[in-house]
C-alpha cells in the first residue's frame, strides 16, 4: 500500500467545561490515502468536528501526532507551515460564516492565490475565471458579493477557494448538510469529479449516514471522542457491529421504496 497522505496517531484533546473535563478526542489514530475519502460520523458531541479542527491546527491537541505529506505537521512553523497549509484546505457548512460575507467572489478567490504567492496580480483574474468554471459557475459571477448569490453557488465558491492552492486533502465539515437536496447531489458530484481529476483526498465530517455510505470509501464512527467502529463505508453502515453504529443506522429515516 502507498504511503498515507495523512497519518494521525494518539490525537487527544480535552476541554474543561464547568468543573468537569470532557475528552473530545481520545487517543485517535487514523490515516487517509491519496485520493481517498474518509468519513467521520457520530452523534453530536462525539468529537468529529474536534478531530477535523485538530488536524487543521485550528485548535492545539493535548497529545498526539499528525503527519501530512510525509512530515510532522504539528511541528511546522512560519513559512514552512504556510507552504504546507496550502495543501490542506477546508470547506465548512456555512460559507457566509466561514468567508467574509461582504467580499466579492473575486476577492474570496484572489486571497489564497495572493497569500500563497501562486499567481501574479496580472495572472489572477484569468485564474479566478478558470476556478469558477471548474466548479461550474459563470466567470461573470466574479464581481458579485457573496450575500448576493444562492447557497449552492456560495458553497461552489468555497470549493473553488479550497482548490485554488492545489491541495492534496480537503476537510469537508458538514459541507453539504445545509444545502437543499436538489443542490446537494450536484455539489457531491462536483467534489467527486475534483477527486477523480486532481486526486484530492477528503476528510468528510457528516452526521448523514446515507450520504457517507454513498460518498465515502471508508468511515470511522465516533462516540464520546473515541473510535467505536471503522471500515469500508458500505460494509460498516450496512452491517454495523458497535452499539452506537447500530443506534445511528436505526435512527436514519427510511423512505419506503417500491420494488422497481
Amino acid at each position: 500500500m502507498s504511503e498515507p497522505l495523512l497519518a494521525v496517531s494518539g490525537l487527544t484533546k480535552r476541554f474543561r467545561r464547568g468543573g468537569t473535563t470532557v475528552t473530545a478526542a481520545d487517543d485517535i489514530s487514523l490515516f487517509i490515502a491519496p485520493g481517498e475519502t474518509l468519513a467521520l460520523a457520530g452523534p453530536s458531541g462525539s468529537g468529529k468536528s474536534t478531530i477535523a479542527r485538530l488536524i487543521l491546527r485550528l485548535i492545539e491537541p493535548d497529545a498526539g501526532r499528525v503527519d501530512f505529506e510525509g512530515g510532522d505537521f504539528l511541528a511546522l512553523r512560519g513559512a514552512t507551515l504556510r507552504t504546507r497549509r496550502a495543501r490542506l484546505q477546508m470547506v465548512f457548512q456555512d460559507p457566509l460564516a466561514a468567508l467574509n460575507p461582504r467580499a466579492t467572489v473575486a476577492r474570496v478567490l484572489d486571497d489564497p492565490m495572493r497569500i500563497h504567492g501562486l499567481a501574479s496580480r496580472g495572472e489572477r483574474p484569468d485564474r479566478i475565471a478558470a476556478l469558477l468554471e471548474r466548479v461550474g459557475l459563470s466567470p461573470g459571477l466574479a464581481g458579485r458579493h457573496l450575500h448576493e448569490i444562492s447557497g449552492g453557488q456560495r458553497q461552489r465558491v468555497a470549493i473553488a477557494r479550497a482548490i485554488a492552492t492545489k491541495p492534496s486533502l480537503i476537510v469537508l465539515d458538514e459541507a453539504v448538510s445545509a444545502l437543499d437536496v436538489s443542490v446537494r447531489g450536484q455539489i457531491l458530484e462536483l467534489l467527486l469529479d475534483l477527486q477523480r481529476t486532481e486526486r484530492i483526498a477528503y476528510l468528510f465530517v457528516s452526521h448523514d449516514l446515507g450520504v457517507v455510505r454513498a460518498f465515502a470509501h471508508r468511515v470511522i464512527l465516533l462516540e464520546d471522542g473515541r473510535i467505536a467502529e471503522q471500515g469500508d463505508a458500505r460494509a460498516v453502515i450496512d452491517n454495523p457491529q458497535s452499539t452506537i453504529g447500530k443506534a445511528l443506522v436505526a435512527a436514519v429515516p427510511r423512505l419506503p421504496r417500491t420494488q422497481d
Binding site: 437543499d180 446537494r184 452526521h207 470509501h217 458500505r234 435512527a251 423512505l255
Partner: protein
Amino acid sequence: MTGPLVSIRNLSVSYRRDATSPSLRNIDLDIIAGERLAIIGESGSGKSTLALAIAGLLPSTATVDGAILWSGQPLLPRGGRDIGFVFQDASASLDPVMTVGRQIAEVARTHLGLGWAQAQHRALELLRRVRLPDPDTALGAYPHQLSGGQRQRVAIAAAIAAGPRLLIADEATSALDTIVQAEIVALIRQLVVEDGMALLFVSHDIALAAELADRIAVFRSGEMVELGTADAVIQAPGHAYTRKLLDAHIGLDAAPMIAQAGHGHV
C-alpha cells in the same frame, strides 16, 4: 362528520410591498382534526411562511390575502392555547433567564387559569411526559444547562401545556443529530396520538415526513404542487418536482456515488 380543524382558502402571503414575488400563492389546504400532515419543501418554498400564517405569527408588515378558518370560523385561534408551536431552535424560543419549570407553568397559568402551585405541578407532569431525565431537578434548571435534545423536549412541553388542538413543528428536529431526531419524532408522534392533536410537521426531509405523516403536501416556490396520502405521494408521486425530491434523497439504500470501495486507487 365534523369539518376540518383548519381550512386555508386561497391564501397568499407576501413579505414585500410590491407583491411581485409572493412567499405563498393561492394555497387551498385543510388540516383535519387529529391528522398528521407534513409540509415538505426546500428553501424558499414557503413552508415556514404557511406555518407562521396558520399560527398568526407573521410579521405585521406581511401582506396576507385569502382566509384561514379555524373550525369553520373566521376567528383567530389563540396562540399557545389552540395552537402549540415548536421551532427549530429551542434555545431561541425559550427564555434563557427563566427556569424551565416556570416557562411551562406560565403557559398553563395563562391559558388554563391555574394557580402557581397547580401550574408548577402541571409543568412537572409535562416534563415527565416529554421524558426529560430527572424532571424534579429540571423544573429549576435554566435552558443552557440542558442539551439540545432536552431543550427541544422542554419546548414541546411548553407547546402542549395548554392542551392545543394543533401542534405545529417547524423543522423542529433539523438541528438535532440523527439519534436525538428519531427520539423527538417518536415523542411528537406519541403526544399527538395521546392528546388527539393534529400535527403540522414542516420539514425539508421527505423521508422523515414519510415516516411520520398521514398526508404530505409538497411546496415549491410558494405553491403547493402536490397533496396526498403519504403512501401515494411517496409511491406514486404525481408531480415531477416530487419525483425530483425523491430521486435526490440519499438514503441507506442509495447507489454508491463512488465507483468502488478501495483505498483511493482511482
